[in-house]
């Protein structure tokens, strides 16, 4: 099974990182490129995202992740020292504390800089206390902020910035990191598979009889700024929720024999986790999942997937292998590279049907 090998499956030329949103490179949001992999045939189709209407049929159900991107990066100062720390929020825990990546301005070792009880001060009188280092992902620390709930959210929006990576050409504003259909604020990073949907396209699909439903899974960090840890692609435990309404639509779509298409790998994870939990059926729930979906996983609910183009490290591609054999993904990716598709959150997309 090539997919679990740790050696890169292909090399991604550096200039194929989308360094700006499509709207800032002369395209509308829904005009990025779309590579369609047919699960049942040996062919790929290259098209433009807004032509997805031609590949979906009335009765098909698109399932979105309604999580809204937070300005999850906050700059603070360690109390009693000159150390500047960037806090990248990763996950809200049930007790109201956060797991976060701490990025110090000093090159010293993390363990020397961060200790239990350390207080980090931010603007607007917000502060947090470092509680402990996470055991599973040692780059993360558990923090307790001086505010919780909507009061914390309000301050976060005053202080925070979206989490941004080096390949970007400018510090794009938070509004560029938002899916038009996003609702519940909570994602550390944009669930970017759905970014290309415009309202125009969503309304068009609706008029065409394509159904839609939403689940919520707040996406965590895509990188811990640690090459080794990132290569392992540790799947963290994530919370997801499925509403009664979404569960109903999924049930109806399955009964009528239509396709359920996940917009993003988070949706695959949520729906398949729910099915695993409830004996093959998706029910309304708020649950945690540790499910790892790989090549030999038998998908129970989802038959199609819209996703971005993933990093070359094989582990990033393993979920896709549950849909199509790795060789086929690599072949498609080779074409994508040849045709100069763009990677990352502002880039092009891949539909597996």
């Amino acid at each position: 099974m090539g997919v679990v090998d740790q050696k890169p499956a292909f090399t991604l030329p550096a200039d194929l990182s989308a360094d700006r949103p499509p709207e800032r490179r002369g395209l509308s949001r829904d005009q990025v490129r779309l590579l369609i992999i047919d699960r049942h045939a040996n062919s790929f189709t290259h098209t433009r995202f807004d032509r997805i209407t031609g590949f979906l049929a009335p009765g098909d159900l698109l399932v979105f992740n309604s999580s809204r991107t937070l300005p999850a990066a906050l700059i603070g100062k360690a109390r009693d020292s000159a150390l500047t720390i960037e806090v990248r929020l990763a996950e809200l825990l049930p007790d109201g504390t956060w797991l976060a990546l701490l990025v110090p301005s000093s090159p010293k070792k993390m363990e020397e800089l961060f200790t239990q009880g350390l207080i980090v001060d931010f603007e607007w009188d917000l502060n947090c206390e470092v509680l402990k280092q996470d055991r599973r992902i040692p780059r993360l620390w558990q923090l307790r902020f001086s505010k919780t709930g909507t009061a914390f959210l309000d301050l976060l929006y005053r202080i925070g910035q979206p989490i941004r990576y080096r390949y970007l050409s400018a510090p794009w504003r938070l509004s560029y990191y938002q899916n038009v259909y996003a609702i519940q604020p909570g994602a550390s990073e944009m669930a970017s598979a759905g970014r290309a949907f415009s309202w125009k396209l969503l309304l068009q699909l609706r008029n065409q009889g394509v159904e839609s439903a939403s689940i919520t899974l707040h996406t965590g960090l895509s990188s811990y700024l640690d090459g080794e840890l990132d290569r392992q692609h540790v799947v963290s435990e994530e919370k997801y929720s499925v509403s009664e309404e979404a569960a109903d639509k999924i049930r109806r779509t399955r009964n009528s024999g239509h396709r359920i298409i996940a917009v993003g790998t988070t949706v695959v994870r949520a729906l398949e986790s729910a099915a695993a939990e409830f004996g093959g059926e998706v029910k309304a729930c708020h649950q945690y999942t540790k499910l790892r979906i790989t090549a030999d996983y038998h998908l129970q609910i989802v038959s199609g997937l819209l996703t971005g183009l993933h990093e070359p490290e094989a582990s990033h591609l393993e979920l896709l292998a549950a849909f199509v054999p790795p060789e086929k993904i690599y072949a498609a990716y080779h074409e994508a590279i040849q045709r100069r598709y763009l990677w990352h959150e502002f880039g092009d997309l891949n539909l597996i049907l």
Partner: protein, 250 residues
């Protein structure tokens, strides 16, 4: 049953004048929760205390923000979405600034003020609708933009304010057309002359007692936000006209 039972409403410009009256009226009409936006925190807080006297356990989110900044609008949207738990039923774009007073001729209007007035009165409603539509579209909702007579007639001296309301009427029309096949309806209301701080500042030489109390024009805002107004969409309405005879069914 109360007319707005179970509904969550966002009202901008709730610290005084019409917005404040709308918040109190919506609370009395049984809303499930309110998100209230304005710059003056103290006024919002005292409004919230008054609301708790009517509805002790009502979910009231006070959002202290300057709608002239698009970054602030994003915060307003996020806090509202969290407070309403992802389901928003009513959005009233009421906040407005009159701009500099005494009101200069357009010919003399400072460019910075022109921008600020458009930001608050036109861009903020545009961004709020754009950011909040996702929380309304699946189950339907009512958007009400507050316009003015100055949005139809170019009065001398009403400069950027009037132009922002012309813009708001255009925005409302376009949005009504784009959302025609959905359950989200958008209407825009001219409340007519009201005795509020804004109007007193705009026309200091007039007798404010000749103008309506803002509390007297809230009924059309309840009607449009409620399910009884479900059939009304894409309309410009005047609060101080005989709207009931025309709009009410049965």
């Amino acid at each position: 049953m109360k007319l707005l039972a179970g509904k969550f409403a966002l009202i901008t410009g709730a610290s005084q004048g019409l917005g404040r009256e709308l918040a109190l009226t919506y609370a009395r009409e049984g809303v499930r929760g309110l998100a209230l936006v304005a710059r003056s925190k103290d006024l919002l807080q005292s409004l919230a205390s008054e609301i708790y006297r009517i509805r002790p356990n009502l979910n009231v989110a006070i959002i202290n923000a300057d709608l002239g900044s698009s970054v602030e609008v994003e915060r307003v949207a996020a806090v509202t979405l969290a407070a309403c738990e992802g389901r928003l039923d009513i959005l009233v774009n009421n906040a407005s600034t009159i701009g500099p007073v005494p009101m200069p001729y357009l010919l003399d209007y400072p460019a910075d003020d022109f921008h600020q007035v458009l930001n608050v009165n036109l861009i903020a409603p545009f961004l709020l609708i754009q950011n909040l539509l996702a929380a309304m579209i699946d189950h339907g909702g009512s958007i009400i933009n507050v316009t003015s007579d100055a949005g139809r007639v170019g009065y001398p001296g009403w400069g950027a304010y009037g132009i922002s309301k012309f813009g708001l009427e255009g925005l409302s029309q376009t949005w009504a057309a784009e959302l025609a096949k959905t359950d989200v309806r958008i209407n825009w209301i001219d409340p007519g002359n009201m005795n509020t701080a804004m109007h007193r500042e705009a026309e200091p030489d007039e007798d404010p007692t000749a103008w309506s109390d803002p509390a007297a024009v809230t009924d059309i805002f309840v009607f449009l936000a409620s399910d009884s107004g479900q059939h009304v969409r894409g309309e410009r309405l005047e609060a101080q006209s005989k709207w009931r005879a025309r709009l009410q069914k049965g």
